[in-house]
């Protein structure tokens, strides 16, 4: 089908009162950015709906992109036809015929902006319904919950018909929920937590700790690749890599084994908080789920959380691992997450970490290392990369291979 435009309906933001204007503007920008690869597409964010004019662009890839933009409740590909009843009837019949399965029911639902159109909405519904009944064998009308709803919008510049209602990603437009930083490891959980953070409209920067030579370049590339996948949902993400080798070595040397993990996490959080403050971010997101591993008991969280007063948001806090995996598969991060590269959370793991560390002991053992000096050293060596959707970090030879294939 050669659709002429896609009509996008807003989600929750229609209830946001005075902020609605900001939300719509942000969503318009986000949609335009998501569709930047289609030069002929035009995006117009209006008060009631957002219109994506295709101007001849194939609708299928545009639809795939739109499904990933947060703040969209649902959308419909629309056919524009001449504003006369015969053209409207013919298009309605062809749209229904195209998807009709035995047993389907339908209704016509007309809205009329152009009050000068000779037929009123009842009359249009009547005419279109009659045409469908006459031309689509086996069709029947049902007013409540039909399987096919033919929407007809009679506007000043033409009549717009649609039948499909494609669910959007929901949530809020990224950028309307403030700015946070995300602790991204490269495992299964943190990308899913990032997804949920973005979904509530928060603009996230990724903080990734790496410990060469204990962690490989591949592990770093994998974290960047995950960021690139997540960037599809937000347009682009800053990736902040923090060197962690020296800190880990110091902790390993000086801190009792049972507290290795707790002190490492405290240092990570402290660094993340420092980065957040530097970048005017207001909260820290991570992928912790309560009780999943030793560092994720309530006692552990309390002992680690002790180092900052910034809010720590844990979107996965009460999800089961199987639920997290399901989301990871749906958002396209799972296959990357399971690539077998060591990250800095898995090296230097003591055989029996304390599952119930105490805050006072954590503070005491942490005094054994030079916290301020190590912090300053790590902060001085932080690097920031802006990562765009579809960038390739894992396969450096992609272009060479593409020639071969």
């Amino acid at each position: 089908m050669d659709y002429s435009e896609i009509m996008v309906r807003y989600g929750e933001l229609s209830t946001k009162g005075k902020n609605k204007k900001t939300f719509i503007r942000q969503l318009g920008d986000n949609v335009a950015r998501a569709l930047h690869q289609f030069p002929d597409v035009e995006v117009k964010a209006r008060f009631d709906r957002l219109h994506v004019s295709l101007n001849g662009t194939d609708s299928a890839p545009v639809i795939d992109r739109l499904k990933q933009v947060f703040g969209i409740e649902n959308f419909s590909p629309v056919m524009k036809v001449e504003k006369n009843i015969e053209a409207i009837k013919a298009e309605a019949v062809s749209l229904v015929q195209d998807r009709f399965q035995p047993g389907d029911t339908f209704k016509a639902d007309t809205r009329r902006q152009d009050k000068d159109f000779p037929l009123d909405t009842y009359k249009v519904n009547d005419e279109v319904g009659g045409a469908i009944l006459a031309n689509v064998a086996g069709s029947s009308v049902k007013m409540k919950q039909p399987t096919i709803t033919v929407r007809i919008d009679i506007r000043m510049d033409g009549a717009y018909l649609s039948v499909d209602n494609i669910p959007g990603a929901g949530g809020l437009p990224v950028g309307t929920g403030g700015h946070g930083v995300m602790m991204l490891s490269g495992g299964i959980d943190s990308p899913v937590a990032s997804y949920y953070g973005l979904r509530r409209g928060v603009k996230l920067d990724m903080v990734h700790f790496f410990s060469p030579p204990y962690t490989s370049q591949q592990a770093l590339a994998k974290a960047k690749q995950l960021t690139s996948v997540l960037a599809k949902y937000s347009g682009g993400i800053n990736f902040i890599q923090v060197p962690f080798t020296h800190i880990q070595e110091e902790i390993k040397e000086r801190v009792p084994e049972g507290y290795l993990m707790t002190i490492q996490r405290r240092m990570m959080l402290r660094l993340t908080a420092a980065i957040a403050e530097q970048r005017d971010a207001l909260g820290i997101f991570n992928g912790e789920a309560l009780g999943q591993v030793a560092s994720q008991t309530l006692e552990s969280m309390a002992a680690i959380n002790d180092v900052t007063t910034l809010p720590i948001l844990r979107p996965l806090v009460s999800l089961d691992k199987t639920e997290i995996i399901k989301v990871a598969e749906n958002i396209g991060t799972y296959d990357l997450s399971i690539l077998p590269y060591e990250d800095c959370c898995t090296i230097f793991t003591p055989p029996a970490p304390k599952t119930r560390p105490r805050i006072d002991k954590s503070r005491k053992y942490e005094a054994l290392i030079d916290v301020d000096g190590l912090m300053a050293e790590a902060m001085a060596n932080v690097t920031v990369t802006h990562i765009k959707p579809d960038e390739n970090f894992l396969n450096q030879d992609e272009d060479i291979f593409a020639e071969l294939l």
């Binding site: 450096q396 030879d397 291979f401 071969l404 294939l405």
Partner: protein, 381 residues
Amino acid sequence: MIYFDNSATTMADPAVVDTYDKVSAAVWGNPSSLHNFGEQAFNLLEQSRKQIADLLGVNLSEILFTSGGTEGDNWVVKGTAIAKRQFGNHLITTAVEHPAVHNSMEQLKQLGFEVTYLPVDDEGRISANDLRNAIRPTTILVSTMAVNNEIGAIQPLDDIAAVMRDFPKVHWHIDAVQGIGKGLHDHLFNDRVDFMTFSGHKFHAPRGIGFIYKRQGRTLAPLLTGGGQERNLRSGTENVPAIAAMAKALRLILTDEKAKVEKQQAIRMAIYNHIKEFPKVTIFSRDDPVFAPHILCFAISGVRGETIVHAFEDHGIYMSTTSACSSKKGVESSTLKAMNVDTGIANSAVRVSLDEHNTLAEAEKFNQVFDELYQEFDKLD
């Protein structure tokens, strides 16, 4: 040489062989190795998989590499029997399948599974109604070919899909080995099919490589267990050079597919329209879109298929007595037998099978040789 035996195998495309050679020489690491040389091979493997998935419009994880069509057919049939044993022991297939499916079914029969072979009509096609009636509560798999390798009949895939939609728990396998690049994409990749088998050397890739399509979420037991390659479903170090070559071959065969299909159809019809005038000729492939564009099966009564093949060979024209697999064993065509074709005439059957490199000039040459040979054969009477 005029090569009219493309359903037996196709010539490996030189550009594809070039990819095979380059990858063999330069990217020979084991994709499972941790170091970056292995990593490079892994990346090429996955990039090839992605290219195939994108070309076919499916998900990356739905493409699994095999050694070819025979392995794919064996895997889906037996792997389903193993994986779904607890849900039932009944499998359905057609009377005209390739031996890779047929003999897998026979082997399962010996293990206590029940198999229904659906009969075909005089065009070699099953009826959707027969299929519907054959499905039992214990049915776990329906396996149908897309294009018959002997006469080119296309099974009524859309009608089969309609039946299968009413039995969402029964898995459906399409043996699509003869169906790739023949304009059948929308019929093959329908919303209902669970598994499909493909073979590289039928579309100008090297021997010994193929793949199956496995719909996301469908269970299939591995037949080759070991190091856990291919998502733990098909162990064995991946044949990266052949996989990369196949990805390229698929891209090439699907480029301008429509024009290629029309060309083959025109060549096929040029021969069809010529030989149909001869009284002793029986043509099993029809002039109808339910037959594939590249296969023409016919018989000259009173002359053995083998004799016809060798007589054409003397004029530099290569074809087969029905399927290449059975031609050396001297067994009669199973498809023609299932169509209730008289044994005498079935033994006279030969198959012309085309690809996009064949030309109308070759068809004309074939027709000339045909006239000549027909006269000689006529004298035999």
